[in-house]
């Protein structure tokens, strides 16, 4: 196990360098950040050169990248062009996005698994068909459509919730955005649970459990569900990173000033320190989540051994 973890950590390095460098190049291609800083006016050449030197922009691209990464690993994420340290932006943005992700994970986990069990146990009946059709429809509606429609219905028409989230973003205001963010994954969890349950109902250990006279409830909860949830749990684990990265649209609709909002603003204003800093953290979260999921998989399913 230890050697496996080390190998995986080593494998992460090229992926990390590759994806952050790719984003770095793309952000670099956005245009001259110093020109963006001055807006429509042409900067004084001496001032521009001074800023370039201060921001390490007078070096070749790969040197800028290595310099930047060296700074990041010393905990210095630089300063956004508004003068705010990027770390300070992160301190305000990450808690919001993490809270939103927690709500989304709970929604997709609880509702998805329950729906999946119901349809998996009644395979081929009308409930099953209904749930399958429902998941197809949910997957087909893009997040920005479902976001606006639900915001309009619940927030404006029926007035059940506040259409936009306040700055503090307490959990109760994040329920609707969390549902919107979770919808597509929710459909996926439902289908995965359904397939897994339907496959395992024919497994030998289920027949054994039934044959030895266990009550149906116990067979389902202790024997069937526990084994069927392994792929589902691992899916939800991998999904955490994707949810955080995919929150751009949801955060925009509900006016949540989280990671997605900061990234969107950063890109619009060509604010490279913000964009690269946030993306770097996102990539790390994604890679670590993937590793944890693989390890969790071995814990949950003893048939899998990592050497």
């Amino acid at each position: 196990m230890g050697r496996y973890v080390i190998r995986r950590l080593l494998q992460m390095i090229p992926v990390f360098v590759g994806s952050t460098f790719l984003i770095f190049v793309m952000v670099y291609a956005l245009g001259d950040p110093v020109a963006a800083l001055f807006g429509d006016r042409a900067p004084d050449p001496a001032t521009a050169a001074q800023i370039r030197r201060d921001l390490y922009l007078d070096h070749p691209l790969w040197q800028q990248y290595t310099h930047y990464m060296a700074q990041i690993f010393q905990g210095n994420f630089g300063t956004a062009f508004t003068g705010q340290p990027v770390l300070q932006l992160m301190g305000s943005a990450w808690p919001l996005t993490i809270r939103l992700t927690i709500v989304a994970v709970i929604v997709e986990g609880v509702i998805g698994i329950i729906l999946g069990i119901i349809s998996g146990m009644r395979r081929g009946r009308s409930v099953d068909t209904g749930v399958l059709v429902l998941t197809l429809i949910v997957v087909s509606i893009p997040t920005f459509v479902s976001g606006y429609v639900l915001q309009f219905l619940f927030g404006v028409k029926w007035g059940v919730v506040n259409p936009s989230v306040s700055a503090a973003a307490p959990f109760n205001e994040l329920i609707l955005p969390g549902v919107v963010l979770a919808l597509v994954s929710l459909a996926y969890v439902t289908r995965l649970t359904r397939t897994s349950i339907a496959e395992n109902t024919r497994a030998d250990y289920v027949r054994t459990a039934v044959a030895k006279g266990l009550p149906r409830r116990r067979v389902i909860l202790r024997h069937l569900l526990r084994n069927s949830l392994i792929p589902v749990v691992t899916f939800i684990g991998t999904d955490v990173g994707a949810l955080m990265g995919g929150a751009i649209v949801t955060e925009r609709i509900f006016n949540i000033h989280g990671v997605g909002y900061q990234l969107y603003q950063g890109i619009l204003r060509q604010n490279s320190p913000t964009v690269v800093g946030f993306v770097t953290i996102l990539v790390i979260v994604f890679l670590v989540a993937n590793l944890l999921v693989d390890l969790l998989y071995a814990v949950l399913d003893p048939r899998i051994r990592y050497a």
Binding site: L22, L136, P142, V145, Y148, T195, T234, F235, G245, V249
Partner: protein
């Protein structure tokens, strides 16, 4: 030489299960579809996999409905004049935000353009992006993934690392950064971007399918008879590995259309004067309180289009995967 005990459809558990990571919705069917490579086992009936699947599909109402919808969409994407006589760019500001009127069943948008005409014309951009991006990603991913699965070794390792890099970039974020550089107002930058981030998913499926097909006895027999690698790939492996790629590509087509609309909504995808559902929904979103009809129609058209392709992919998968019967 039989392949050592590698799982056929991925290298690590999380990849085999979800690989939904950065791709988000794009990976909806990936893990369910990989098992189709196994579908070539001989059956008691003398029908081939394809005629068997076709036999099933013709009786599947989901397939019939989605196929008819797609034919309709393609027809109006090519000839929108068939059902919409107006011009999508001819607008009358005096009619701004008005509701349905005779001859204008869906009402008017902020600029006073006819929502019905714009909704009909919007099909062209979506279908073009979806079809071109899917063709590009399937071709690129299929070929690269197929070679990686067939030859293995360093080429496989390199491809896996490169696709890991692309999986590590959240897709909407990548689109925002990549496409905000582009000033070209045609559909091609969007198509190019989707191909760039979409191919690794298909490459992974193709790789797994080829590895599975490679272990079959008839491939070993062909090798023993002295067939070269090209002949083995084209004659024996490709026909048996293409089914999962087709399924994933069909479903991906739906999600690519949704992705294009999302990018257009964020202002980095297609740009006016191109008529696109994403752009129309974006401009409708600010008027949602006083003119919800503006949002409703393009949103419904977009969702139905995506649904049609996902349903088609689902039906094809059911037909090609004997495990689910």
């Amino acid at each position: 030489m039989p392949e050592p005990l590698t799982p056929p459809n991925g290298r690590t558990a999380s990849e085999a299960i979800g690989n939904a990571g950065a791709g988000g919705t794009m990976d909806f069917a990936a893990s369910e579809a990989v098992s189709i490579g196994l579908a070539t086992a001989p059956t008691a009936r003398a029908r081939s996999l394809w005629s068997d699947a076709w036999h099933d599909l013709r009786r599947n109402p989901v397939f019939i409905v989605s196929a008819l919808l797609i034919v309709f969409l393609v027809v109006i994407a090519i000839w929108p004049q068939l059902i919409a006589t107006g011009n999508p760019l001819a607008c009358d500001i005096n009619k701004s935000l008005l509701g349905p009127a005779p001859g204008h069943p869906f009402g008017f948008d902020t600029q006073g353009c006819d929502v019905y005409t714009r909704t009909v014309y919007g099909a062209r951009a979506s279908v073009t992006v979806g079809v071109c991006a899917t063709a590009g990603a399937a071709l690129l991913g299929g070929v690269l993934g197929g070679f990686a699965g067939f030859f293995g070794g360093w080429w496989d390792a390199l491809l896996s690392r490169v696709s890991d890099i692309f999986f590590g970039i959240p897709i909407i974020l990548g689109g925002l950064v990549f496409l905000s550089v582009v000033t070209n107002a045609t559909v091609w930058p969007v198509v190019g971007f989707i191909v760039l981030l979409g191919w690794p998913q298909i490459a992974r499926i193709a790789r797994g399918a080829v590895i599975t097909a490679k272990q079959n006895d008839y491939v070993q027999a062909a090798r023993a008879l002295g067939a070269g690698p090209i002949r083995m790939l084209l004659r024996h492996i490709a026909p048996n590995a293409v089914a999962p790629v087709i399924v994933v590509a069909t479903i991906a087509l739906g999600t690519y259309i949704s992705l294009e609309a999302t990018l257009s909504f964020l202002g980095v995808g297609l740009k006016p004067p191109t008529v696109s559902w994403g752009i129309d929904i974006s401009s409708a979103s600010t008027q949602i309180r006083n003119a919800p009809h503006m949002l409703l129609w393009p949103a419904a058209a977009l969702s139905v289009t995506v649904l049609a392709f996902i349903m088609l992919g689902d039906a094809v998968r059911d037909a090609l995967d004997p495990k689910l019967r």
